[in-house]
């Protein structure tokens, strides 16, 4: 196993809080929610497991180091993310065999079986699976259409609406975990934008005004 500190991208001198923060940021980045229906979902899950293990290892190591008995409480589970999510493992499904095929990457076989389903039996799940196949192939516009149809046919299914919401959010111009900070997950906001500088200056000016001085002459 790689050095757990390296995996969490923190120095050995980092405080517990800093480690927790780094863990939280990584957990959000590789959250299964970001990879629902993605052909790379399994790799994201592996990454998540690696991060979990690294976090546990670091925390365990620190607890042992504090062998003096003054044990501090810490949140053993750290960031709570949703249970590992597997789009293709639901039981109550009339298409469980097809889900299995998609899960194993046998897209052509899965598609053939799906296409063989007669029109009246094509329910929300059928569209969801069709969307998953298109998504894996990279046909993402077509995938979005099918996911939308699935969510319309069964608005109560959280699996369908989560995918549709994520894709809609991306279609509006958001990139997952944008390090420049406009993403839904917030990302890590590096540096300081023009707006931050302006608002900072205005605030500073307000402070100066209160104290009888003036920083920006015109306001």
């Amino acid at each position: 196993m790689k050095d757990p500190y390296e995996i969490l991208d923190v120095s050995r001198n980092a405080t517990d809080d800093e480690i927790k923060e780094a863990y939280r940021a990584l957990a959000q980045k590789y959250s299964p929610d970001n990879y629902d229906s993605s052909p790379l979902a399994d790799l994201a899950r592996e990454k998540m497991e690696e991060i979990d293990k690294a976090y546990d290892a670091v925390m365990e190591e620190r607890r042992e180091q504090r062998a003096s008995g003054q044990q501090q409480d810490y949140d053993a589970n750290g960031y709570q993310y949703q249970q590992p999510y597997n789009a293709y493992n639901q039981n109550a499904s009339q298409f469980s065999d097809i889900r299995k095929l998609i899960n194993n990457g046998r897209l052509a076989d899965a598609e053939e079986l799906l296409n063989g389903v007669p029109l009246p039996s094509r329910d929300a799940e059928w569209h969801f699976l069709k969307g998953s196949i298109f998504h894996s192939k990279g046909y993402i516009d077509e995938a979005f259409q099918h996911f939308q149809t699935a969510a319309e046919m069964n608005p109560n299914n959280p699996e369908y609406s989560a995918v549709v919401n994520r894709m809609r959010w991306q279609r509006n111009g958001n990139m997952p975990n944008n390090p420049y900070g406009t993403g839904r997950q917030g990302g890590v906001n590096y540096g300081c934008g023009v707006c931050d500088i302006c608002s900072g200056l205005i605030l500073a000016d307000c402070c100066c005004n209160c104290m009888g001085g003036d920083l920006i002459g015109c306001c």
């Binding site: 590789y30 592996e46 990454k47 990279g138 991306q170 279609r171 509006n172 997952p176 944008n178 420049y180």
Partner: protein, 292 residues
């Protein structure tokens, strides 16, 4: 070293590499697209990177920092020549008159470089060839399906990116990353060339989707959600890549450069130089930039 300079030296290094591998004329094909591919490949490995100050043909009085020969630059130069050859062949088929003559004259040179490049990258050539043929068939048949018509370009870039790592999981991620990036580039080209294609009655997926509307602005805006979604997919696969170095340049290109270029192309504006943004991955080739 400032990261911007590092990207620049990879760009200059690629220019020099094109010259070394295929002769001075090949350097005119230099583009930021292939500099980006070299950067990505270099970021995936940990090979020692040598930089040297060398004379630059475009600015003979200024010595520029250049990245010395390495596998990534060799591969990018080969791929650039393979793509150039197919592009010229495609242009010969599509153009008439004096333009056609221009491409016909360039063909023997491109073919010589192409043969040399194919000897190094036979698999990539086969794949690009197949995809180009598939693309031509789809366009011939007036395919009116965004996903389908962008698939050949996307698959080509997917296959090229896949070669950047030996690790099977990373290959999968690179494949997805390249696929989505290739799809984005294809659709961006369609948006960028819209009016020209309309004038030349050339195939353009956006023309078919919008009933050959002459309102280029609205047409370009119509593709925005799909382009955004594509970039979102590029980003989520990018996060799964094991990037060993140059992460801040790559972050900059992917999260700032690409959306910036997209915004400008969709607004029908030329892509201006970007202060403080390292990258400039444009969909157009930028000759003379830097170091010819």
């Amino acid at each position: 070293m400032v990261e911007n300079d590092l990207y620049r030296s990879i760009y200059c290094g690629l220019c020099k590499q094109l010259g070394r591998s295929f002769g001075p004329l090949a350097r005119f094909t230099l583009s930021y697209d292939f500099a980006f591919m070299s950067l990505l490949q270099l970021s995936m490995n940990e090979d020692c990177l040598r930089l040297e100050r060398q004379r630059c043909a475009a600015n003979p009085f200024i010595n520029k920092s250049c990245c010395c020969t390495n596998q990534a630059l060799l591969n990018s130069a080969d791929t650039a020549m393979i793509m150039l050859y197919y592009k010229i062949k495609d242009n010969i088929a599509d153009s008439h008159g004096i333009k056609k003559l221009k491409y016909l004259l360039a063909l023997p040179y491109a073919k010589r470089a192409y043969k040399k490049a194919v000897a190094n990258q036979p698999d990539i050539d086969q794949l690009i060839n197949d995809n180009m043929m598939r693309q031509a068939q789809l366009e011939e048949a007036n395919c009116n399906h965004i996903d389908e018509v962008s698939d050949p370009s996307a698959s080509s870039l997917a296959a090229i990116c896949e070669t950047f790592s030996e690790d099977p999981s990373q290959k999968r991620v690179l494949n997805r990353f390249g696929y989505c990036l290739g799809r984005w580039v294809y659709l961006m080209d369609a948006a960028d060339d819209y009016l020209q294609d309309l004038k030349n009655k050339a195939y353009n997926i956006l023309a078919l989707q919008n009933n050959f509307s002459t309102d280029a602005f609205t047409v370009r805006q119509s593709i925005e959600p799909s382009l955004n979604l594509t970039l979102g997919e590029v980003a989520s696969s990018y996060h799964l890549l094991n990037i060993n170095r140059f992460k801040s340049i790559l972050d900059n290109i992917i999260f700032q450069g690409l959306p910036y270029v997209q915004k400008n192309v969709l607004a029908g504006q030329p892509i201006p130089k970007i202060p403080n943004v390292t990258l400039v991955t444009s969909t157009k080739e930028e000759h003379y930039e830097g170091s010819i």
